[in-house]
Amino acid sequence: MYVIIVGCGRVGSSMAKQLVDEGHDVVVVDEDPSSFRLLGDGFPGQCVVGAALDWDVLRQAGIEGADAFAAATDGDNTNIVCALIAWRAFEVRCAIARVYDPLRARVFARSGLHTVCPTEQARVMMMDAVHACPISTTGE
C-alpha cells in the first residue's frame, strides 16, 4: 500500500513508523523539516517539505498513485482542506482527516469525507470510564 501522511507530529510520525514496519510505502509531508526528527534515524520512507494545500507538493509526494492519505497536522482546517483535495481532485478513495472539533467533523463526514475526531472518541471513553466507576456507599 502507498500511504501519504500529512503532518509529522506525534500521530503522523508514529503512524509512519508503524506503516513502514508493516511493509508499506510511506511518504510524510510537513512544512517544518525539523519535525522529521520524530521519525528517528534511518526512516526508510520519503519525507517531503512543503504545504500540503499546494497541489504541486502533493504531486511531489506521489498523490496520483496513493492508496491512502491521512491528514494529521495540528490544524483542523488544514486537515479538512488537504483531505478534500486528495479525495476530490486526486481521487484518493481513502482520504482521512483528523478533526478535533466534533461539529466540523460531523458536517464534513456527512458530506462524504472520512474524518476522525479524537475529541469525540475521548468523550466516549471518558464517559465509559465514569460509568464504570463503582458508586461509593459511604455517607448513605
Binding site: L53, G75, N77, T78, I80, L84, A89
Partner: protein, 236 residues
C-alpha cells in the same frame, strides 16, 4: 441584505465600511484580540470576537439568516472551510472568498466557491495589461455567471485585422466589447475597424480561449499563449 464577513483585516474592514455606505446590514467576525479591540469603537456591536471557522461562532453571528458570506481571513484553509460550511450546513445563497496565495486557486475552484478574489492574481493581470509583450491577459472570471473577460491583441496576420466589427468572424460564445488603441478605449460598435496592434476586450464563455487565440493570434500556439498568461508559477 445581511452579510457575514469573516476576518477584520484591511479587506474585511473596507468591505464592512462599504456595506455601511450602501445601507446593508452586516456583522464582522475577528479572532485576533488586538484587532478586535482596535476596531470595536468603530464597528460596535457589528464586530464579534471569535474563530469564524467555529460553527457556534458563525451561528452567533447569524449565518442562518444571511444572504452572503464573505470569507476574507489571511488563511486560505480557513476561507475554504468557511465557504464549505456556509454551503454544506447553512445553505447560504452566495459565498465570496479571498485567495491569499494564488497557488491555492485550484482548491477554491474545486470546491465551487461562488466567487474568489485574489489580490496577487489581479495585480499580475494589471501588470501584464501594461506590458506590451503580453498578447493575451485574462482579466476577470465570473464563475457563477459562466463568463470571462480577457484582453487579446490583434496580430498582423489575424483574419480580423482591417475588418469592421460587423464583418469579423468570431468563435461562438465570444463578444468583442471594447477596443484599446493608443491608450484610449473605444466601444466596439459594428462599424469600428480593427487594426493590427489593437487590444480587444472580449467577453467569452470559459473554454473558448483557444478558439479566440486562433482567431486573433493565428501564428501563435494557443497552449503557449495561455501558459504565458497563467500565473501558477508564483510561489510563496
Amino acid at each position: 441584505m445581511f452579510v457575514v464577513i469573516v476576518g477584520a483585516g484591511k479587506v474585511g474592514l473596507n468591505v464592512a465600511r462599504s456595506l455601511t455606505h450602501m445601507g446593508h446590514e452586516f456583522i464582522v467576525i475577528e479572532q485576533r484580540r488586538s484587532r478586535y479591540d482596535l476596531l470595536r469603537p468603530e464597528l460596535e456591536e457589528r464586530l464579534l470576537f471569535g474563530d469564524g471557522t467555529e460553527m457556534w461562532v458563525l451561528e452567533e453571528a447569524g449565518i442562518v439568516r444571511c444572504d452572503l458570506v464573505v470569507a476574507v481571513t489571511g488563511d486560505d484553509e480557513d476561507n475554504v472551510v468557511i465557504a464549505q460550511l456556509a454551503k454544506l450546513e447553512y445553505d447560504v445563497p452566495k459565498v465570496v472568498a479571498r485567495v491569499n496565495n494564488p497557488r491555492n486557486q485550484p482548491t477554491f475552484d474545486l470546491l465551487d466557491v461562488d466567487a474568489t478574489v485574489c489580490a496577487a492574481t489581479m495585480m499580475i493581470s494589471m501588470i501584464q495589461h501594461e506590458l506590451p509583450s503580453h498578447q493575451f491577459v485574462p482579466l476577470l472570471s465570473l464563475k457563477r455567471e459562466n463568463m470571462e473577460l480577457v484582453e487579446i491583441e490583434v496580430s498582423d496576420d489575424s483574419p480580423s485585422a482591417h475588418l469592421a466589427i460587423d464583418d469579423i468572424r468570431l468563435p461562438d460564445g465570444v463578444l468583442v466589447t471594447a477596443i484599446l488603441r493608443e491608450g484610449t478605449a473605444l466601444l466596439a460598435r459594428g462599424s469600428e475597424v480593427l487594426l493590427p496592434g489593437d487590444q480587444v476586450l472580449c467577453l467569452l464563455a470559459p473554454g473558448r480561449e483557444k478558439e479566440l487565440i486562433r482567431s486573433f493570434l493565428p501564428s501563435r500556439k494557443p497552449e503557449e499563449v495561455q501558459a504565458q498568461a497563467s500565473i501558477d508559477t508564483i510561489s510563496e
